[in-house]
């Protein structure tokens, strides 16, 4: 029982990070029906910049403090937000009215550009990230379950950001505009919504969340390298689809489920089959409910 609880805690903390990344995929899909494959690499950029700021440009990593960690996070958010904005402005906007496949290919192009450009600029070696004043090993024990402070921070920050995101989407003007654009961009434009600005905002918001996820992830797993966005990006994308792409709560649920599935399969079934079985479960869910767990089964507009 204790063991099961332990696996659940570990799974949830991994899932919370998947969920944060998944939000970026799902929001962009919501407004543009575009799968922004570069999102996982924006996440990587956040982690790399965090490493540079904490270990290369300053000696923050040697004497980490909460204030420093906050500073690093804010700076990463700034850089990732800007990158997200620039990718949309110069990559996707000129293609907005061309077939959707063109944007998709551009997204893959940006993804590869960031990955291999990152290898050239940052160097291909993995590096140790340490911006937070707690070590991943520090934990407290509750009912025999070891809960690390970093896991707790990851889950807490993720929850906080998800609530904030809900407030932005449902309680602010820009959130209303986002929902309007996601419903129908041309009608929203006719109603006086500045579609370009809304889309830019969506990209910035998603990228900022990816930056936070990057700092949390890099603090928990300590390793940053230019290809680190690949797997988490892919898994977050799957999480977004699982939850129902375009649906914000769905992304959160999908992320958590995926993290849990990975952990439970490797602990109770077989670690060799971890990804295989976790993804097979996802396929099954999608076969039964193609629009995802929380997705609304909307008919394709003709």
């Amino acid at each position: 029982m204790t063991e099961l609880l332990q696996h659940i805690v570990d799974g949830v903390s991994l899932g919370a990070i998947y969920a944060l990344i998944a939000l970026g995929y799902t929001m962009v899909y919501g407004v543009l029906q575009l799968i922004n494959f570069a999102h996982g690499d924006v996440f990587m950029l956040g982690a790399m910049i965090g490493w540079y700021l904490s270990a290369r440009w300053t000696s923050e990593a040697l004497h980490p403090s909460w204030l420093g960690a906050l500073g690093v996070s804010l700076f990463c958010m700034l850089v990732c937000g800007t990158t997200g904005f620039l990718i949309e402005r110069f990559g996707y906007r000129p293609l907005r009215n061309s077939p959707r496949l063109n944007s998709l290919i551009t997204a893959i192009g940006f993804s590869l550009l960031l990955e291999y450009g990152g290898q050239t600029v940052f160097g291909p070696n993995p590096r140790a990230f340490g911006a937070m004043p707690v070590d991943p090993g520090e934990h407290f024990t509750l009912f025999g379950v070891a809960i690390s402070y970093l896991d707790l921070i990851s889950i807490g920050v993720a929850l906080l950001l998800m609530v904030a995101l809900q407030l932005i989407i449902f309680r602010t003007r820009i959130g209303t505009a986002m929902r309007a654009v996601s419903w129908n961009p041309s009608v929203a434009a006719l109603m006086g919504v500045n579609v370009d600005r809304v889309i830019s905002f969506t990209f910035v918001l998603g990228s900022v969340l990816a930056a936070v996820a990057a700092v949390l992830y890099a603090s928990s797993y300590r390793k940053v390298e230019p290809l680190m966005g690949l797997m988490p990006g892919l898994k977050a994308f799957v999480a977004a689809v699982l939850g129902g792409i375009g649906n914000v709560q769905g992304a959160m649920l999908g992320g958590l489920l995926l993290g849990l599935a990975e952990h439970l399969v490797s602990s109770y079934v077989s670690s060799s089959w971890k990804d295989g079985i976790a993804f097979a479960i996802l396929i099954l869910i999608l076969l039964v409910k193609p629009s995802g767990l929380l997705g609304k089964g909307t008919a394709e507009k003709v």
Partner: protein, 450 residues
């Protein structure tokens, strides 16, 4: 667009020229440099493998060139990057053979990638020497494929020996990378030998390279209470695994293979790795004069950088190839192949190398201990008695293979393969005596302080 096409034309012209030069060389023979191909992961997650090897090869080649080259001709290395991808390694090999007309090919480090390259070299009858692919199957591809290192069974055997005899481990667990031939191979042989030596395997778990969360597997392993955990993976993952092992409360020594060998291992794993052991091809702390001389040369050539074992092996692989080219009757593929196959007692920095009938190098292995500050301390040297896993009798009859830090044990009767036995005998004993002396742990991989 016009500019693009102009530059394309230039590019094509350049390639054309190169091709011409290459084919001309093959025909004329006597003039121009001998082109040797190299394939390595210069970028990608295992980039230090490729760059270290490249440095070793370049050093060996530049020494040869300074000394007058081979058969009066200079050697030129044509190095291609495979980004750590097997398909790229295959493509690069094809390019080296088809358009650059290389005389021989050096590479790759990873067995997975060497296995993609070997069939191409075999088909074209271009000798290939891999510096550090330890998977058995690599040289089984054909008679043009050689290696300058020992094979997986030996590393698995070495660690099983060390765990049983020196660490007195009764029950070990295994955590292997299922996406990696090397890791799966080492895990298998370690398990077989460990059981044969009277130990038991408590649990065997897997991960996929690139994973970042290993807590589920480690928790399972911890619940079986092993005395040690064998993780024959690469440094990129092992550092994280070590950290998480300590996080879930698994405190036993971690054991591994040469894939651990990188300064990055400790940078990521930190003190979680203290007291862990791994088998390796050489140690910079090994007091043998040959090794110390190499370390000095390497540091001088590369701004004080300490050569890791991949650099040393690549240096030996290149040296072995050059040696064979010198002995070969001509520079055709078959002639170099025959000369390589006849390699006996080549005095490499990583030990005396003799090719066995399966084109695998037979030579000793060292065991290193991870100490404070990421220093790799020399913990022992294990000779290739009964090297291959198949040689059961040798395993049974070797009562004290782990010499640890003490006297060398190179009794001719326990040497590797019957064919190489006479040649190995005396010289090897002297060599071992020179190399196994003190276990002193001088700082090895200088830890980059960033």
């Amino acid at each position: 667009m016009r500019r693009l096409s102009v530059s394309l034309v230039c590019l094509l012209a350049a390639i054309g020229c190169k091709k011409e030069q290459g084919s001309g060389m093959v025909g004329a023979g006597a003039k121009g440099p001998i082109v040797v191909g190299e394939v390595g992961s210069m970028t990608g997650t295992e980039a230090t493998f490729g760059t270290s090897s490249d440095r070793g090869i370049q050093l060996a080649v530049s020494e040869t060139n300074t000394a007058g080259g081979v058969k009066g001709r200079q050697i030129q290395v044509m190095a291609l990057d495979d980004e750590g991808k097997p398909e790229e390694a295959a493509t690069a090999t094809t390019r080296l053979i088809a358009s650059e007309h290389v005389t021989a090919i050096l590479g790759e480090v990873a067995s997975t990638r060497s296995l993609f390259m070997a069939p191409k070299c075999q088909a074209a009858k271009v000798p290939m020497v891999t510096p550090s692919s330890t998977n058995e199957r690599v040289t089984q591809v054909g008679d043009y494929i050689f290696r300058a290192c020992f094979i997986d069974p030996f590393q698995g055997y070495v660690m099983a020996r060390f765990a049983r005899d020196t660490l007195h481990v009764d029950k070990s667990a295994i955590l292997k990378d299922v996406r990696n031939d090397y890791s799966v191979g080492l895990a298998k042989v370690f398990g077989e030998n460990f059981k044969k030596m009277g130990g038991s395997i408590a649990d065997e778990e897997s991960y996929s390279s690139g994973d970042v969360d290993f807590k589920a597997q480690l928790t399972n392993i911890k619940n079986t209470n092993p005395d040690s955990l064998y993780i024959p993976g690469y440094y990129t993952d092992v550092g994280l695994i070590a950290r998480q092992a300590r996080e879930v409360g698994l405190t036993v020594p971690l054991l591994g293979g040469d894939g651990w060998d990188s300064e990055k291992l400790y940078e990521i794993g930190g003190d979680a790795l203290l007291g862990s052991y791994f088998s390796n091809h050489y140690s910079v702390d090994d007091p043998s004069p040959r090794i110390q001389e190499f370390v000095v040369k390497f540091k001088k050539a590369y701004g004080g950088q300490v050569p890791d074992s991949l650099a040393a092996q690549a240096y030996d692989a290149a040296g072995m190839l050059i040696d064979a080219m010198k002995r070969a009757s001509d520079l055709s593929g078959p002639a170099i192949r025959d000369a390589l196959a006849a390699t006996k007692q080549y005095r490499g920095v990583t030990g005396d190398i003799t090719m066995d009938q399966n084109r695998n190098a037979s030579k000793p292995a060292v065991v290193l201990k991870v100490g404070k500050g990421g220093k790799y301390e020399f913990a022992g040297k294990i000779q290739p008695e009964g090297a291959a896993a198949k040689a059961e009798p040798a395993v049974e009859r070797g009562p004290k293979k782990t010499e640890g830090n003490t006297a060398p044990d190179a009794a001719p009767g326990t040497m590797p393969t019957p064919t190489t036995m006479p040649a190995m005998g005396a010289d090897s004993a002297a060599q071992s005596a020179a190399t196994t002396g003190q276990p002193q742990g001088v700082p090895s991989g200088e830890h980059p302080k960033r």
